[in-house]
């Protein structure tokens, strides 16, 4: 039974939403320059995949994510700064595409909320821990 099920699984083809072309050259290949590769990888982990929206392009298996990795590697290999590549993507897809939210009025609660909650907790704890007179 299990063997038959396993066989069925092997025969099952995933739904084809991908092209017939191989991945881009730099989608899954490291740059020869280790420092550039490190910069590219750091950026890839910080850029959101447009297909699997919870994943970074470094984690995603989607074809478009591969093309985005290739784009990032090629631009960094050409000497572009990672922040410039990020800005290029944000210009097209909005702040959404970057996992690092910018500091602006709309995102103040996001940045300051945790600090405020921590401060409130500290205040509560301080009150509780004070020795009764």
């Amino acid at each position: 039974m299990i063997a038959r099920f396993a066989l069925l699984l092997m025969l099952a083809a995933p739904a084809l939403a991908d092209s017939n072309l191989p991945p881009s050259e730099w989608a899954d290949r490291q740059l020869p320059d280790a420092r550039q590769e490190a910069a590219a990888t750091a950026l890839m982990e910080d850029i959101r995949c447009l297909v699997c929206q919870g994943q970074s392009v470094a984690d995603s298996d989607a074809e478009l994510a591969g093309d985005m990795r290739a784009l990032i590697r090629e631009r960094i290999a050409a000497g572009e700064r990672p922040e410039a590549v990020r800005a290029w993507l944000v210009e097209r897809y909005g702040d959404w595409v970057s996992f690092e939210p910018p500091m602006k009025p709309l995102t103040w609660p996001l940045w300051l909320g945790p600090l405020a909650i921590l401060a409130a907790g500290a205040w509560l704890a301080a009150r509780k821990l004070k020795r009764p007179k």
């Binding site: 084809l16 072309l21 074809e63 909005g94």
Partner: protein, 176 residues
């Protein structure tokens, strides 16, 4: 009395949490990613022809004073098949449609056009999705209304359905 009320705070927080969870589960946020380039100039690109004997597509083609529809499609894209007859109808109504085939092979594009019709003026081939990414597009099919000065006026994400024809025509008219 004040202490009693304070005890209700966690319950209130729980109720708030449940309400937010209920709301977001019942109406999930829209996860369509729109291009931020609406209202901006079409990025410069030059694409070779997607199949032999046809013209390739470059951004310079969009500045001759006529508004156009730029359709991003692929032969491997299933919703593009559903969109094909609608594009033919738009062409019949006089819309100039330029196309970009994403991650495609000439034989596959030719086969797709044979089977589903060919409403396109020019077809550029975007092997590694670079031009698609430069347009702020996140999938196939997508369409852009580009005015006669090469400015993106409107983006349609997903297949254009028959019900979308009036919108597309109106946007093209506005771009005139």
């Amino acid at each position: 009395m004040r202490r009693r009320l304070l005890l209700l705070v966690p319950l209130a927080l729980l109720a708030l949490f449940a309400a937010v969870a209920w709301w977001r589960l019942a109406s999930p946020p829209d996860n369509v990613i729109r291009s931020k380039l609406e209202g901006q100039k079409l990025p410069a690109f030059v694409l070779p022809a997607a199949l032999p004997g046809r013209a390739g597509l470059d951004s310079a083609a969009f500045v001759d004073g006529r508004p156009r529809l730029l359709n991003i499609f692929a032969s491997w894209c299933v919703p593009c098949i559903a969109e094909a007859p609608v594009l033919l109808e738009l062409e019949r109504r006089g819309v100039t449609i330029e196309a970009i085939a994403v991650r495609d092979r000439p034989t596959d594009v030719a086969h797709f056009l044979d089977r589903h019709g060919d409403p396109f003026q020019r077809i550029g081939t975007d092997i590694d999705s670079k031009v698609q990414l430069s347009l702020g597009s996140s999938g196939v099919p997508e369409s852009f209304v580009v005015d006669g000065r090469g400015v993106i006026r409107f983006q349609h994400v997903g297949p254009i359905s028959p019900a979308d024809i009036p919108t597309i025509l109106a946007e093209l008219e506005k771009a005139r």
